[in-house]
């Protein structure tokens, strides 16, 4: 029996693969976390924008759920009631249609749609195309393959990976791209905005409240590029960091402080960094006065960043060393070349970048 063999083979293959994956899953450090209050949840937002989105979302979900039941339950009943009986070979009554019924199920969905459309439009016009508020913090957001750059023109700050904001403050983001098509998204702040070379998309929102008295350098909100932008698209991550007002001022003041080069190792690191300055700048050092656009992220205050390499690894000495040894290994396709640094050079550069720059976390 070829048929039975096929079915048995299939069942065995599936069970075996299920068991194999389940075993690997069980060995992972992070266990099941199936809830919705996860780092990038789209329904657990904290700004007025996300609250408004959730309001439309709730109405829409209820309406479509009711419609689904209005289809599914009668369908199941119909299938049960009108199943063909054994031995009954006469055709049923040949019914061709019913104008009143068909009119009704044209009109009722149309009416239901109004209940989705009106709040939708209300929310669109409330948040889209707003003029920038004069008191807003201006940030230029620039997508690069594969990292985000954040420029604060009024504060003279350029940074990468972390969008630092004071709590409960209007923010005016101008979003664009230096190369390919990207999309900027921090779900707990609101929806996505495309980052397109040659276009500037403006986004106005009010930052959420800081959750606790500032203890660990602010609240971190995960974000990620959401437009396929090349090989390491999946590794183009970023965070929004919300500070108390005082915490934000501290960050602003400290960000452009030049590195404090004290130990021998840091001094050596400073020398090694001279090989990086074609692409990277650190404010307050000679690297910042080289004219022209830098193609790599600005590394001022690098020690304060929680993660490195586009948010793929925690900013630790080991991880920075791994990155410097072979950038391609962490982020395939990345523009940063392998400088073939020796281990002592890597140690020195790590000491310089991580310890001599400002630390918030």
């Amino acid at each position: 029996m070829r048929r039975k063999t096929g079915i048995t083979l299939g069942a065995v293959a599936w069970l075996a693969s299920a068991a194999a994956w389940a075993k690997k899953f069980d060995e992972m450090p992070y266990k099941i976390d199936g809830g919705f209050d996860v780092p990038m949840s789209t329904i657990a937002g904290l700004t007025e924008w996300t609250r408004d989105i959730n309001y439309v979302y709730l109405i829409t979900t209820v309406i479509v759920a009711v419609i689904f039941l209005a289809v599914a339950l009668p369908l199941i009943y119909t299938l049960y009631k009108f199943r063909a009986k054994e031995g009954d070979d006469t055709p049923p009554k040949q019914l061709h249609g019913n104008v009143i019924l068909e009119f009704l199920w044209t009109v009722i969905p149309a009416v239901l749609l109004i209940f989705i459309a009106v709040p939708t439009w209300k929310i669109i016009f409330k948040h889209d195309g707003l003029p920038a508020r004069a008191d807003a913090i201006k940030v230029h957001v620039v997508g690069h393959q594969w990292w985000w750059e954040f420029q604060y023109p009024d504060l003279g700050i350029t940074t990468a990976y972390e969008l630092h904001l004071p709590e409960n403050t209007p923010v005016d983001l101008s979003i664009t791209s230096a190369d390919v098509y990207h999309a900027f998204w921090i779900p707990k702040f609101g929806g996505k905005t495309s980052a397109i070379q040659g276009n500037i998309n403006r986004l106005s929102l009010t930052s959420p409240l800081a959750r606790l008295p500032e203890v660990a350098g602010g609240d971190y909100y995960q974000g990620q590029c959401v437009e396929l932008c090349g090989t390491s698209h999946a590794l183009m991550r970023h965070v929004g960091v919300v500070h108390t007002k005082e915490g934000f001022e501290r960050w602003v003041k400290a960000h452009n402080q030049p590195p404090k080069v004290e130990t021998a190792s840091q001094r050596e690191g400073e020398q090694v960094f001279a090989r990086c300055i074609a692409c990277h700048a650190i404010e307050g050092t000679p690297s910042a006065s080289i004219p022209g656009d830098k193609i790599g992220p600005n590394l001022s205050s690098f020690g304060s960043r929680s993660h490195l390499a586009g948010g793929t690894r925690k900013n630790t000495e080991e991880n920075l060393a791994i990155w410097l040894r072979n950038p391609q290994g962490l982020k395939p396709g990345v523009l940063m070349p392998n400088l073939a640094l020796t281990e002592p050079e890597i140690a020195a550069l790590t000491a310089y970048l991580r310890q001599s720059t400002y630390k918030t976390y």
């Binding site: 199936g34 040949q94 249609g97 779900p187």
Partner: protein, 610 residues
């Protein structure tokens, strides 16, 4: 029927007869078999992607390969599976259902198949040299420009789509003409089977939408080959223009994929509830309305690009309107079942599951029609869940239903019902296990098209479950293959009309003779075949005796090898664009040779006795 006609249709065998065939039924079979073969490849892509995503930080597949799999899975499932499998059904059944001896342009029909096959092979050649296009099936500018995608990988996509688009365009003109001009006497437009209506509207969409993507692809290939800079902002180009052009094609494309499925489901439900389709004329109007509105909603793929509040509000309203004709269809299908005597064959199970799955996917589509919600769901797994419910739970389930329904007409043998039902349930469970949890992943904020994810995002559990569902589906697909081969040789003999069906193709022998109808039928009713079998009160009629048939009156078009030669010329023209690294002489020479082959075969074609 005469014995001579019968023997004539089977005396032509062998590979050469398939290469030179202009018989719409054989071309239909060629389309369907190639589509299923390409489906296996695209399905393996999907399994590899799901295996990679089963665990966070998984190292099974590299970033570049994964992006290639994303692109090839989407492109192949759309252009090399759903569209050509639908074309297989159009080819085999359009003439049979409208009472015609063949399509309007038989050699053109063969040409469109060969162009499709060469285009598909060209696209798939990218696997063999490890250069899969890695830019997504939508190939958004400006990642596709040479400075960001320097290898030939994107050229496979651009030229594959141009060649495949040409095939679809030629086929669309052919079927549009066939349906409007070659219906049997008495078959007015509103007496056509609903599947033919779906086919007709699909051809109109193809004719109007394909030129847009063709133009866009020409511009892109010029950008890549000659540096014209249409999509390069550095050269004064405009990135968003690609996105508009792509979706002006891409959204009607969605209806090109689903309308044939809707037509198939309508036929199956009517047959197996043994009632006419409820509200036939409203179904026709709603098909047309969906096709029309389909051109007014493209920018709902672009709510996040910064079009401004008015454009977003208007495109959102237009999108919501589509829910109305679609809803009418769903309730009419249910009313078709209501009061019937439903026989739960495998084909019927697929058609019924279509109603449920398509409704589900349609409703999550309504959620995306609201831009505020869409800005959160856009490019997350919620969207992946949505369109797999409409295209897989919808279009693909309908096409599988169509295969079970019409297999006996094509091959003369019934497919195995037990195996079919096991496959159906594997598909249903596997499909829902794969795609239902993706709604959760989307709400949890998991972006699409990422080859890996961090373990602390809370996405681990659902991803593992999705992967297990995908494996289950793969087993279903394997059983389908077993069923097809088993049934081809050992299936029960079907006879002319195994399902007591309603449309004209079931009045013919299974498989039909090469010339289809001995005498072109005269049509008096919608569901003509049913009315020949039954009175209005459900009592059986005595079938009218077959009219006198004179084999001398049959004129069959001659087989021709020009279509395959001409199609090969088109492939050569495209191939030239891959060869600049071998020098301009080889590159331009190949394209020019291709153009000469096209001209030469067009010449031979026009002087050939048809």
């Amino acid at each position: 029927m005469s014995a001579s006609a019968h023997s004539q249709s089977y005396s032509k065998t062998g590979l050469w007869s398939w290469i030179t065939t202009v018989d719409h039924k054989r071309i239909g079979i060629l389309y369907a078999c190639s589509a299923l073969a390409f489906m296996v490849i695209a399905g393996i892509d999907a399994l590899l992607m799901r295996s990679q995503l089963a665990l966070p930080d998984n190292g099974l597949i590299s970033a570049e390969t994964y992006n290639g799999l994303v692109t090839m899975h989407g492109t192949s499932m759309i252009f090399l599976f759903i569209m050509p499998l639908s074309a297989g059904f159009f080819n085999f059944f359009t003439p049979l259902m409208i009472g015609a001896p063949d399509v309007a342009f038989p050699r053109l029909n063969a040409l469109s198949f060969w162009i499709f096959l060469f285009g598909g092979l060209l696209l798939n050649f990218s696997y063999l040299i490890g250069q899969m296009p890695a830019v997504g099936w939508f190939a958004y500018a400006n990642l596709t420009l040479r400075q960001y995608s320097p290898t030939v990988s994107v050229d496979f996509w651009v030229w594959g789509i141009q060649i495949l688009g040409l095939a679809s365009l030629i086929a669309a003109i052919n079927f549009f003409t066939t349906i409007l001009n070659m219906r049997a006497p008495g078959m007015t437009l509103l007496k056509m089977p609903i599947f033919i209506w779906a086919t007709l509207v699909t051809q109109v969409l193809l004719i109007l939408a394909l030129p847009v993507i063709t133009v866009a692809c020409v511009m892109l290939s010029f950008d890549r080959a000659f540096g014209t800079g249409f999509f390069d902002p550095g050269a004064g180009g405009y990135v968003l223009m690609w996105e508009h052009l792509f979706w002006v094609f891409g959204h009607p494309e969605v209806y090109i994929l689903i309308l044939p499925g809707m037509g198939i489901v309508s036929e199956i439900l009517a047959t197996f509830s043994r009632k006419p389709l409820f509200g036939y004329s409203v179904m026709v109007y709603s098909t047309c309305a969906i096709g029309f509105l389909g051109f007014a909603v493209w920018a709902h793929h672009m709510f996040t690009v910064g079009m401004g509040p008015w454009a977003n509000a208007l495109f959102s309203a237009a999108t919501m309107l589509i829910a109305i004709p679609t809803g009418v269809k769903i309730f009419n299908w249910m009313s078709t079942l209501w009061g019937g005597k439903i026989r739960f064959t495998t084909a019927a199970l697929y058609a019924i599951s279509f109603i449920a799955m398509f409704t589900f996917g349609g409703l999550s589509g309504i959620m995306h029609s609201s831009p505020p919600i869409d800005t959160q769901h856009h490019d997350t797994y919620f969207v992946v869940a949505h369109f797999h419910y409409v295209l897989y739970g919808g279009a693909v389930m309908a096409l599988f239903g169509g295969i079970y329904y019409w297999f006996p007409k094509v091959t003369g043998r019934l497919m195995n019902e037990t195996l079919g039902k096991i496959q159906f349930w594997l598909y249903m469970v596997g499909f829902n296990l794969t795609f239902f949890p993706m709604h959760f992943l989307g709400v949890q904020g998991m972006p699409r098209r990422i080859y890996t994810y961090a373990p602390d995002r809370g996405w681990n559990l659902w991803n593992l479950i999705c992967t297990m569902g995908a494996y289950l589906t793969a087993i279903g697909a394997f059983l389908f293959a077993v069923n097809v081969f088993w049934s081809l040789f050992k299936g029960k003999i079907a006879g002319n009309d195994p399902w007591d069906a309603r449309t004209l193709e079931w009045s013919l022998p299974s498989p039909p003779l090469e010339h289809n109808f001995d005498v072109i039928p005269t049509v008096t009713h919608l569901d003509e075949w049913w009315h020949r079998k039954y009175n209005e009160d459900g009592t059986r009629k005595v079938l009218a005796p077959a009219p006198h048939f004179d084999p001398q009156t049959i004129h069959l078009p001659n087989p021709s090898y020009w279509p395959i030669v001409l199609a090969f010329g088109i492939l050569l023209i495209g191939t030239g664009f891959f060869l600049p690294s071998f020098g301009h002489v080889i590159s331009i020479g190949t394209s020019v040779t291709g153009a000469l082959v096209v001209l030469g075969s067009a010449f031979g074609w026009s002087y050939e006795k048809a």
